[in-house]
Symmetry: C2
Subunit: 271 residues, 2 copies
Amino acid sequence: MKLIGEKINGTLLPVRRAIENRDSRFIRELAKLQAEAGADWLDVNAGTSPEKELDDLVWLINCIQDEVDTPLCIDSANPGPLAAAVDRVKVTPMINSISLEPQKLEGILPIVVKTECEVIALAMDENGIPRSLDERLTVIHKLVSATRSSGIPDSKVYIDPLVMAASTNTDNGKIVLDTIRIIHEEFPEIHFCGGVSNISFGLPHRTLVNQAFLSLAINAGLDCAILDPLNRDIRAAILSVELVLGMDKHCQRYSRASKKGLIGRQTDKNA
Amino acid sequence: MKLIGEKINGTLLPVRRAIENRDSRFIRELAKLQAEAGADWLDVNAGTSPEKELDDLVWLINCIQDEVDTPLCIDSANPGPLAAAVDRVKVTPMINSISLEPQKLEGILPIVVKTECEVIALAMDENGIPRSLDERLTVIHKLVSATRSSGIPDSKVYIDPLVMAASTNTDNGKIVLDTIRIIHEEFPEIHFCGGVSNISFGLPHRTLVNQAFLSLAINAGLDCAILDPLNRDIRAAILSVELVLGMDKHCQRYSRASKKGLIGRQTDKNA
C-alpha cells in the first residue's frame, strides 16, 4: 500500500496562512512529519487563484525539497502553473490529476506524457461524477484508452474511483468497491488511488466508517491512498488488513509498528 | 449479521465459579446483557466433566430461560448430555456442533435431525483442522454431503471455517476468507459462523486485527459470528462494514447505535 500525504494543501486554513505569510518552517514541518510517517509522495496543492498559483507552488516545492527527498504529487487543475511547477522538482513527481474533462485531457495529459511520470486519473467527465457502476466503468475505459493512446503505460496510471458519501446514497461504497474489483481484474497493471474519507461525510464517528471502507477497498485492489499518514487509526487499519490478507510476512510490519507505539490506543496496549 | 453471545461458557473462570456455586444471578445477568446487546442466540457451554455436564447444562438453561426468551445455542461435545439438554429448552435451539469426526457424526448429527434445528458444522475431521485451502474445502464438501443425506436443509447449516492464528501462519486469514467466498458461491443457502478472535492470537492490539478480519469475512459471506455482543469495537466494526456494503438502508442502524452511544470512543464523539 502506497500513501500520498495530503496535508500540504492550501485549501486547509493553517496551510493557507503559512503560504500567505511565507512561513517555511510550518511547511517544512508538515513535510518532515509526513515523510517520517511513511508517505511515499507528498501532495502539494497551493489552493490559490491561478494568477498566484505558480509562485505559491514553487515556494511550497522549494520549502519541501529543502527538508525531505520524498517525491511530490503536484496537485493542480491549471496546466500553466502545473507544467512550470513540474519543471522545478528534483525527483520525477506524480501529477494530480487528469480526468475525461476536455480541458484536463488537452491541458494536463501532454504534461504527463512529457514528464513520463505517474498520474492520478479521476473517474469523471464533463458531466461530473457518474452515479452508476456501469457509467463509472465506461468513463474509466475511456480514460484508459486516452492514456494508452498517449503512450502512458498502465503501470503509471492511478485511477481515483471518486468515493462519495454513503449518507447521500447507501450504494456509494459498494459502487466504488465494485469499480475497483472489476477494473483491477480487467487491467491488472493499473493502480488505484482514492481519498477514502469522503465515504463517511455527514456521519458520526467517521473514523469507524473510514476504517471499514479502507479495509474493503484494499481487499478489492486499492493500492494507494491520499490521506493523513499521521492518523493512527488509518495506519492501524492498513497494517491490520495487510496482515489478515497475508501481505505482511510473519506479521513483521504490524509488530514493528506496535513496538514503536504507532498503532493501538495509546492508553491501552491490549486495545 | 446474526450474533451468538459467547459469554455463558464454563471454561471461563467467573462462569465456572457461578456454575459451581449455583449463582443464578450471575448467569441471568450475563443472559440479560447479551440479549439486550442484540444477541440472536446465547451459547451455553457448561465446560464441566461429562458426568456433571447434564446437571450443569440444565441448571444453566433454566437460569437463562427464567430471564430471557432469546434462543439458545447448546454447546457440547457429548451426545448424551446434549440430547437431554436440547429436550429442556423452550424455543428450538441451535446445536454447537458437528464435524466430520466419526463420534460427532454418529452421536450428534441424529440429535440435529430429530430436533430439526440449526447446527454449527466445524470444518475438521478426525485428523484435526486441515491446513490448506483445498483440504478445508474437501472437508466442507463431505460435511455438506452428510447434512444433506440426513435431510437437513442447507439453510440450517452454519459452517465454522475454523479461524487460526495469523501469527503462526501468515496465510491463515486468507485461507478462511477464501473458504467462505468459495463455499458461499457454491452453496448460497449455507450460512457461515466463526469465532473470529483466534486470528489475532499472540499479537498485540488484538481488537485491530479482529476488526479488520471481521470486516473482510463479512464481505466474503460470513453472516453469523460467535462473539461478545457487548464489545463496542466489534459492534462498531459490524455496523460500519454493513454500512459501506450498502446493507444498512439510509445508514439507519449505524446512526441509531451512535445516538444510543453504543459505538465510537466514549471520550470523543468524532473518533
